[in-house]
Each structure stands twice: as C-alpha cells, then as structure tokens.
C-alpha cells in the first residue's frame, strides 16, 4: 500500500507498470483502518481478527464493494 501525491501520480504509476488501478483511501480512512487493525497488536491479549470482524472494520471505514471482499469468489 503506497502513498501518492495525487490521483495523477497513481495513474502514472499504474500505467508505467501496466497495472489496473486498485482502490484509494484518504489518509483519514487509512488511519482508521490501521488503528482498527493494529491498535492491540502489542498487547498480551491480542488475537487475529475473525473474518467477520475484519469485514466489519472495512465497512466502518467505508471500504465496501468487490475490491474489499475478503471471501472466495
């Protein structure tokens, strides 16, 4: 997951690598996603999120649709 200065920079980077564009997040969405994902990682009680918990976190951050689908198919 990279940070880009603007949409134009993402387009240029994608074209140069012949890659389709992926999905974009605002830094605020990135912070909320990272916070939900990692805030407990150093704590003794940490455990991996379940699939359902991860889906809930993505939805809370506004990341919905096929790109964010965690399940097969």
């Amino acid at each position: 997951m990279l940070l880009f200065r603007s949409e134009e920079h993402i387009d240029r980077w994608s074209r140069a690598r012949d890659l389709p564009r992926g999905a974009t997040l605002t830094p605020e969405q990135g912070w909320r996603l990272a916070h939900g994902w990692y805030k407990d990682k150093v704590k003794p009680e940490w455990r991996r999120h379940t699939l359902e918990e991860t889906e809930e976190l993505l939805a809370e951050v506004g990341l919905t649709g096929p790109f964010w689908n965690l399940r097969e198919g």
């Binding site: 997951m1 920079h9 999905a23 605002t26 996603l33 916070h35 150093v42 964010w68």
Partner: protein
C-alpha cells in the same frame, strides 16, 4: 503431538510473540531468533520453530529464503521508506498502512515520513492524541483484499 506438547508449543508461541512485539515497540528494533532465544533462555531451534508457526499464522512475516523476521507487522525489521518518528525512536513500516499501524500500536504521538510511490517526493503525516492531524496524499491499494496474502511483500 500430544495435548501436553501442543499446549507447550502454544505457550512458547505466545511467549515469543509477546517478546517480539514488546521489544519492537519499546526499542524500535525487531529481535531475531538468536536474540529472542537468548532473552527468553530458550533453545534457538524451538524459537525458530515458534517464529515459523507465527509466520504461518500471519502474525509476522519472514524474509524470503531465510528464517529472519522481515516484519513483526506493523514493525519492519529493516529500514524502509516508511519512517515513523515517535519520541526519540525511529521505526519503519513496510507500507503506509503499517506506518500508520505503528502509530496505532504505540498509542503515542508520531510523525510519518513517506515517499510518493510515483515521484518519490516525501510527504508527512502526523498523529496527535490518537487522531490523524496533518496529512498529505492519497493511499492506493493495488491488490484486492482477498489476495493480500497471496504475496504479502508485493501487497
């Protein structure tokens, strides 16, 4: 494996996990199996096995072709372009998500410096009192969520 052996293996994995992540957070350095074994007074072979089990469980990421830890994500073991300054320590993340994740895991004020993936120009993001303050740029995920762990290095 007997039930007792399984419980012992689970206990060592937990002990190793806690040591790795607490050391990474406190010192900004990710310990490797020899240091972990010495600190925990455990056989290195047992620690290496525990680290491999943690990697298999996607708790951390091993460097390609050796048993060293590449990232106890969000903490990267080697310098990267995604730099996090917190207090008097410098941490590295393997991507912008992990750089933000370091700020979340540390739960302290921090400043991220990260390059534009296209032109390399540095950008700055700040986390203050649990909130994102100053920020620049747009985050791009090239890989759909279902395929993140197909090749986590690329992701």
């Amino acid at each position: 494996m007997t039930a007792a052996e399984s419980a012992s293996s689970e206990a060592l994995m937990r002990e190793v996990r806690l040591h790795i992540f607490q050391q990474a957070a406190e010192t900004a350095r990710v310990p490797q199996p020899p240091q972990i074994a010495a600190a925990l007074q455990r056989a290195e072979a047992d620690v290496v096995l525990a680290v491999k089990q943690l990697a298999a469980g996607k708790v951390l990421i091993l460097a390609p072709n050796d048993g060293n830890i590449w990232a106890a994500n969000p903490f990267c073991a080697v310098p990267s372009g995604f730099r996090v300054e917190a207090g008097d320590k410098t941490y590295w993340g393997i991507c912008i998500w992990d750089a933000l994740g370091i700020c979340a895991a540390l739960d302290r004020d921090a400043v991220i410096s990260a390059p534009c993936g296209d032109c390399g120009e540095a950008m700055r993001l700040e986390v203050r009192q649990g909130r994102l303050g100053h920020s620049e740029g747009i985050i791009h995920f090239a890989v759909p969520a279902h395929h993140w762990w197909d090749n986590i290095g690329y992701t």
